[in-house]
């Protein structure tokens, strides 16, 4: 900030602008979050009576009726979100494990080893990362229908891998390039094999990057909607949380219950995110923005 005596009016103007801006950004981010959480506890009749009164009363907060409704199994009259949560978690975790495994090996090769076709593969991965999901969607839909993988969580996981491996490869390669090679070199001279160098030196050193990539991949798989919609719509017992919530929106269900569902589906990613924000931020921008 410039010295106050030099540009006095400007200084005050900027101070007002700064605090006004802070208020603006808190309003467009914290308010929707607060509104979503508040409404998820409300009784729908109250909201219909006065939409601007969205803060839940203590009785509403403690009854948890909307959450019970959302989580209860479908055969007991609920929306069965516990089952959907299990589906989402299984798909997301499998995607993370396979992506990080395959991505680490490939990224190490792309960063450290010399081989024919390296440039092509690096360029290809960036292109795939940018490639529209909707262009792959139709052939994958047709092919997976033909081979019977369409209404299955395995099929869904396989499709997610195609979207997450390029991201993981790109992020991890950018990270490996910044790690000094000297330690690996001395291990190689001491007779360590490449694979044990990866296992004993590269992986422990890359732990923060691996955590960031895992989180990011988990977020992609957990939040994904298009392929879940294409593949699973006809099998309600396989729905992921995203698909389940969207399908509820088509039915006559109180908005407050929908908001409880939105909180349930958002909570895991928001919690993970607040725990590991720093890693994720560094991982997301690593290598993409050069200093």
């Amino acid at each position: 900030m410039s010295a106050p005596h030099r540009h006095n009016a400007e200084y005050w103007f900027l101070a007002v602008l700064k605090w006004g801006s802070i208020v603006f950004f808190v309003a467009i981010t914290a308010f929707p979050l607060l509104y979503m959480i508040s409404l998820s506890f409300k009784d729908i009749a109250e909201v219909l009576r006065d939409p601007s009164d969205f803060f839940p009363s203590f009785a509403e907060l403690s009854s948890l009726e909307t959450y019970r409704d959302v989580l209860r199994p479908a055969d007991e009259g609920g929306r069965g979100f516990l089952l959907l949560m299990r589906n989402s978690a299984a798909v997301a975790l499998a995607t993370v494990v396979i992506t990080v495994g395959a991505g680490t090996l490939a990224a190490y090769a792309a960063a450290r080893l010399r081989f024919f076709g390296k440039r092509t593969i690096n360029m290809g991965m960036v292109l795939v990362y940018l490639f529209p999901a909707i262009v792959m969607a139709i052939p994958l839909f047709v092919a997976f229908s033909a081979i019977g993988l369409r209404d299955s969580l395995v099929g869904l996981t396989i499709v997610y891998l195609a979207q997450t491996i390029p991201v993981a490869l790109y992020m991890l390669r950018s990270y490996f390039v910044t790690v000094p090679v000297e330690i690996e070199e001395s291990a190689l001279i001491d007779g360590c094999s490449r694979l044990s160098v990866i296992w004993r030196i590269v992986l422990p050193l890359a732990a923060p990057a691996l955590a960031a990539v895992s989180l990011y991949v988990f977020m992609i798989a957990w939040n994904e909607f298009l392929y879940a919609l294409l593949f699973l719509t006809q099998s309600p017992e396989l729905w992921t949380l995203s698909l389940g919530l969207q399908q509820l929106d088509n039915q006559e269900i109180p908005r407050t219950v929908l908001m409880a569902g939105a909180v349930v589906i958002s909570l895991p990613v928001i919690l993970l995110f607040f725990v590991a924000e720093r890693w994720l931020v560094e991982g997301l921008t690593a290598g993409s923005v050069k200093g």
Binding site: A30, R112, F115, P132, A133, V142, I165, F225, V269
Partner: protein, 344 residues
């Protein structure tokens, strides 16, 4: 690097050398040619072994489908024929393309998608720049605000769309409640009306309500992404530049215009490219918020509509090829007019 004693085995000594050589290294020198070739062959084999699982999955699920999509787009294929269809039948009919491009709304569709992508991208980059400028300065609660700003980006898109649909709901939405008490008007159905007349201080404004909402939603969802990139770049800027400017008597606004903005040009170019591509193809945001109603039909949603609404796989496939071609042409134009050093 320390040279090993002369009796050390050459392949061991050359391992770090090989590791240090980057992309596109020249041919091996004649002196070590014999041993180096086997070293290189081994390295090549190892590298291919390491990279194969990832690359094969991606090739099988991206390249193969894209090629096959082209074949599908020339075939007459309905959704119900899926059971008894054989993938290796070849057919060559332009009917799908005629149907898709001949549709009376085709150019309207492209126009809407293009404007949506340009505006959504611009809103997200401008909000991201603004947020990054705000968070870069120190103030109490800064890390909390930084965390909050990432909320629109990490929240699942289905939850975010549902939240917006609820806030904008004509009956119970908070926004309508506020608008009604502030302007004393009736309900506004933001998500389905293609035009909405707003009376502000006697001026009559005709706003494309639903379209404005999908642009704002896209901007809100993705500004944290731009924010992260711009903030990382801002924090990497050398402080001396600003100190020198301040010594020379530049105001904060002058520093912003003459130092910050030019330094950010590269990031803007990358962000615009990435966000434009993603927004141009985006399906989730529009499908979930408006379903294409009220003048918000975009190409991706139309593809889905062909596939399930009209059960016409061939037409859906043809439109997705058209989408890819239009995008490729736009990218070529972009690289033609944006100098190479700025487009990364």
């Amino acid at each position: 690097m320390a040279q090993g004693p002369s009796d050390e085995r050459p392949e061991v000594r050359s391992a770090p050398e090989v590791a240090l050589v980057g992309d596109g290294a020249g041919p091996s020198t004649p002196r070590t040619a014999g041993r180096a070739r086997t070293m290189r062959q081994r390295e090549q084999r190892l590298a291919l072994g390491l990279i194969a699982p990832g690359v094969l999955i991606v090739l099988a699920l991206v390249l193969l489908p894209v090629v096959w999509n082209i074949a599908l787009s020339f075939r007459e294929l309905r959704l119900i024929e899926l059971r008894e269809f054989s993938p290796l039948t070849f057919d060559f009919s332009l009917e799908n393309y005629q149907e898709v491009i001949g549709d009376s709304d085709f150019f309207e569709l492209l126009r809407t998608t293009f404007i949506y992508a340009v505006l959504g991208t611009s809103v997200s980059i401008m909000l991201g720049l603004w947020a990054a400028m705000v968070v870069q300065a120190a103030f109490p609660g800064r890390s909390l605000v930084r965390g909050l700003i990432l909320f629109p980006y990490v929240v699942p898109v289905v939850a975010a769309a549902l939240l917006w649909r609820t806030m904008l709901n004509p009956q119970i939405g908070i926004l309508n409640a506020w608008i009604q008490s502030a302007f004393n008007t009736g309900n506004v159905d933001f998500l389905t009306s293609s035009s909405f007349d707003l009376q502000i201080f006697g001026f009559q404004l005709g706003l494309p309500a639903a379209f404005t909402m999908i642009v704002l939603f896209e901007g809100w969802r993705s500004f944290p992404f731009a924010f992260l990139f711009i903030l990382a770049r801002l924090q990497a800027l050398p402080g001396e530049l600003y100190e020198a400017a301040q010594v020379d008597g530049a105001s904060a606004v002058q520093s912003f215009i003459h130092i910050t903005l030019p330094q950010l040009r590269g990031v803007f170019a990358v962000l615009f490219l990435l966000r434009f591509i993603w927004t141009f193809n985006s399906f989730d945001e529009v499908y979930l918020l408006t379903g294409g109603a009220g003048g918000t039909q975009v190409v991706s949603v139309q593809i889905f509509e062909y596939l399930f609404g009209r059960s016409d796989i061939g037409a859906a496939s043809a439109l997705s090829i058209v989408l890819a071609i239009v995008l490729a042409v736009l990218l070529l134009l972009y690289f033609r007019f944006v100098p190479a050093e700025e487009s990364v």
